[in-house]
């Protein structure tokens, strides 16, 4: 019930924000703020829930919350919402980044603020739904629903090339989504031929004894949909365009949480539903991940557009997640989750900075910046922090994620580990060069720029604290997601022992 309440609060809040515009153009953002805080309040008690143990395939799994109600009984479709440590972490990240997105657009939106906030809230609602749905139909429903408001955010409030970018974003995710729908249905029918009844229930579909050939094709449908969203090389081409053209708030949400739905899907669905088939493709997927890491980093180095640079760095960082998931070891899974959270925070912050720069300078071109530290010391220092975090400095969250992934992958595949590690070097180069070009060097023009104000500094400091916390004391996060990862892991490798937490 609590999960439905969170999603409903966001949906209703979106409507109210839209209606509020009729009264006063300043109201929508306050309604949004209130909505996000309210849903945040609803999330907090979830952390103290007692786990319930449930049979998942051949193993047992721990869930914090399960809610089920019939929806379309004809096909065995139900409102099956469930929450475990992994989902909870993702939902918390979603709500927090929603707050960041709202803060980043606080004074930026002049045109139709009500509809803007409506779309913002609905994106959050859709993503939250994705993270807590365990009925495959319901999951697909939210998967598609989160696209529409995001499309509007890019298409209406985007920058100069918004038509192209929004269309590309929608097409890539929608078409790959249809492949997933096909796979879902084929899986359901395969299950029906065994059990005799329709079901979209994750708990019933996990651990089916599928024919190897069929499983491989079905896995591919899921894999493509999630890898497009992740985005993995070579399906990443929508991302630089979408990120660059999107308004700041949408970039923050895209990078911070929408990409994570892809990683979450791989973790939750692709591998557990089709363990054998996923292992067959694992080598390939890790290779794609490693190529993504290096390619993204090299491309980031070549960009003049600050937002495009961050977008390519996302491709690079999410490549690590892809490697980590398909290496499928205790260390790499923990590392992938850590990388998802840390990347969510650091990239969201960088996009917020890029948005703030564009708001002040009306350009994203690095060659027109330079010497900005002098004008905006606060912004410069904060940017340096996130640039450093992004390149993987020990002591911050990103380092923990990438290090664990590489460490774990080393036991599986040495060449891929070595190759992917190159990405870390290039990351240091492009990140520092970007910092250099924007904030150091000679001032290009005499500008009277406004530094970060209290609102911006406040939200930035929150994210900085988060990254430092993740970097020096990651254990609580590991403990939180361990039961989920353990049950997923044992599901696919029943002969293995879960080596245990990183203590």
């Amino acid at each position: 019930m609590q999960l439905i309440a969170i999603i409903s609060v966001l949906i209703i809040g979106g409507f109210l924000a839209w209606l509020a515009e009729g009264r006063n153009r300043d109201w929508p953002k306050w309604v949004s703020l209130f909505t996000i805080l309210l849903s945040g309040l609803l999330v907090i008690p979830l952390f103290s829930l007692e786990p319930i143990t449930l049979q998942l395939g051949a193993t047992s799994s721990q869930w914090l919350l399960i809610y089920e109600a019939p929806w379309i009984p004809r096909f065995g479709i139900s409102f099956l919402f469930a929450l475990d440590g992994l989902s909870l972490l993702m939902v918390a990240l979603t709500i927090f980044l929603g707050l960041v997105a709202l803060a980043s657009s606080w004074n930026e939106i002049e045109h139709q603020p009500g509809f803007f906030q409506f779309n913002l809230m609905w994106t959050l609602a859709g993503v939250t739904g994705v993270f807590v749905s365990l009925d495959l139909f319901l999951f697909f429903f939210f998967w598609e629903v989160m696209l529409i408001p995001m499309y509007f955010l890019i298409a209406i409030w985007g920058h100069e090339n918004k038509a192209y970018a929004s269309m590309k974003f929608f097409l890539f995710t929608q078409i790959s989504g249809l492949f997933m729908l096909l796979s879902i249905l084929a899986l359901v029918f395969a299950a029906k031929s065994m059990t005799g009844s329709f079901t979209f229930n994750y708990f019933d579909l996990v651990g089916l004894d599928l024919d190897a050939d069929i499983a491989w094709w079905l896995m591919l449908g899921f894999f493509i949909a999630f890898v497009v969203k992740l985005p993995g090389f070579p399906f990443h081409t929508w991302l630089p365009d979408a990120h660059t053209q999107a308004p700041t708030a949408a970039s923050v949400l895209l990078a911070g949480i929408l990409l994570k739905t892809g990683a979450y899907g791989l973790l939750r669905f692709t591998v557990p539903l089709f363990p054998q088939a996923a292992m067959e493709i694992a080598e390939m997927a890790m290779l794609l991940g490693a190529i993504g890491v290096v390619y993204g980093a090299v491309m980031a180095f070549a960009q003049d557009d600050f937002k495009r640079l961050i977008a390519y760095s996302s491709v690079s960082h999410m490549g690590f997640v892809l490697i980590g998931i398909f290496a499928w070891r205790e260390l790499t899974l923990q590392g992938s989750v850590m990388q998802m959270v840390a990347h969510g925070l650091s990239t969201a912050a960088l996009f917020m900075i890029a948005g703030a720069l564009q708001h002040r300078l009306h350009t994203r071109d690095l060659s027109e910046m330079g010497g900005l530290w002098k004008d905006m010391p606060r912004m410069g220092a904060i940017t340096l922090f996130f640039i450093i975090a992004s390149l993987g400095m020990p002591g911050l969250g990103n380092f923990v994620g990438e290090f664990l992934i590489l460490l774990g992958t080393f036991q599986v595949d040495v060449p891929i580990t070595v190759f992917a590690s190159l990405g870390l070097i290039v990351a240091a180069i492009y990140a520092l060069v970007a910092m250099q070009r924007a904030f150091q060097g000679a001032t290009i023009a005499d500008r009277n720029l406004k530094d970060f104000d209290a609102r911006e500094v406040g939200i930035m400091v929150l994210m900085m604290l988060g990254l430092v916390y993740l970097g020096i004391h990651p254990q609580p996060i590991f403990d939180m997601v361990e039961p989920s990862l353990k049950s997923l892991y044992l599901l696919t490798e029943p002969t293995h022992e879960w080596v245990g937490t990183l203590r």
């Binding site: 004809r74 629903v145 078409i175």
Partner: protein, 484 residues
Amino acid sequence: MSEQQLVAILPHILLSAAILVQMMVIAFARNLRTTITVSIIALIATGLAFIPVYSLIPINVTPLIILDGYAIFYSGLILMSTLAVTLMAYDYFKDRGENQDEFFLLLLLATLGALVLVCSSHFASFILGLELLGVSIYTMISYPQKGLLTLEAALKYLILSGVSSTFLLFGAALIYAISGNLQFAELAPVALVTQGAGELFLTAGSALIFAGIMFKLSLTPFHMWTPDVYEGAPAPVTAFIATVSKGAIFAVTLRLFSSSNLIEVPAILTGLSVVAILSMLVGNLLALKQDNVKRILAYSSIAHLGYLMVAFIAAGMIGGKVLAVEASSYFLFAYFITTLGAFGVVTIVSLGNQEMDAGDISNYEGLFWRRPMLAIMFTLTLLSLAGIPLTVGFIGKFYIFTVGVTTMLWLLLSVVIIGSGIGLFYYLRIIFAMTKRTEVNAPEIKIPIAGGCVMATITLATLFFGLYPTPIINLINSLVLSIT
């Protein structure tokens, strides 16, 4: 004819009587408000007359007509759509001068034709219904008599429709030649003939029947008339052609091929697969190049009928019939709602323009900021056409996928995916145009009361049945499966 049979065709009798009354009313007291009132009462009374029929089904009335759950479901769909079209047409015609009353007479006649079609169990009633529907539509297309486009549309539809009817008749004659029978259900043994001249007659006959039907359903390669007629006809008439006419013809076709087992002839299935693939690709690809919303909707309807054919083909596959009939019924239900919504918006936007319907996409620029409610309705309809969740169109597409997966039509399904992908381009183009910030010097759009109510109902239905399709699924399962 027994008393029961008389009750069973009471809806048809009532509607026929209402048409006569309507004629008298127009002759003696010409007044648009009166005419429309008679029309609405006639439609509602006809609908109510189906209630006593429900306890009698299935019942044959002469060899020509059968009333079963399937017929009732589609009759209900037709009557509701006609009601919506009537209200839209009222808004459309009320400010266009004198002598608009006969239009509503024609609309009732066409509806009667459609009702006969969905109840027919014999080639004679099939052709009768088809012509009643077709002849009324020619006149309705050219009714406003404004501009060359309208005339062109009417003439094209007249000629092509005439040609297609001859195809159909000749096909029926060939089938009659080997079976000696014109009743659908009696044809079943013939479908098993697999050798000699019998097979040739059977295949040729079915192919000709299908050619005729494909004209009416605007399936490729017989789709050429569609964009011109959609563009030239008044928006409410286009809505009627797209929904009632196509829906009724599809319903009778499915009944013919399902109850006669003709659909299981392999050559026909192969041919239909080609037609379905071509329709999905041609419809979606040609829509990309259009700048006229009515033409885009025309091509999109070609593609949608292609999707529908996937379910039709599935009905011919082993073990697919029950689910296929269910799927095509839900898909058609969704298609009816969505198409009526789309043309409802076009009608409302066109009200300020007497010369020509507001087809060009520039008419819709900035609609989001000028008429937010109307734009949201249109967006929902377009998303429903694209098959995006939250809308009834998604459940329709879900059904197509479901039935395709059950009968393992992988090739057709991959074309559905490609087609849907291409489709997004032009649906999003319209949505994007509506979100443009440019100031447009378009005439202000007034939302009429009748049209506004229709649109509100359609929008609510789009959302409601997209989120909670169970009532319709149950209705379909209790009624429609009677033909399988």
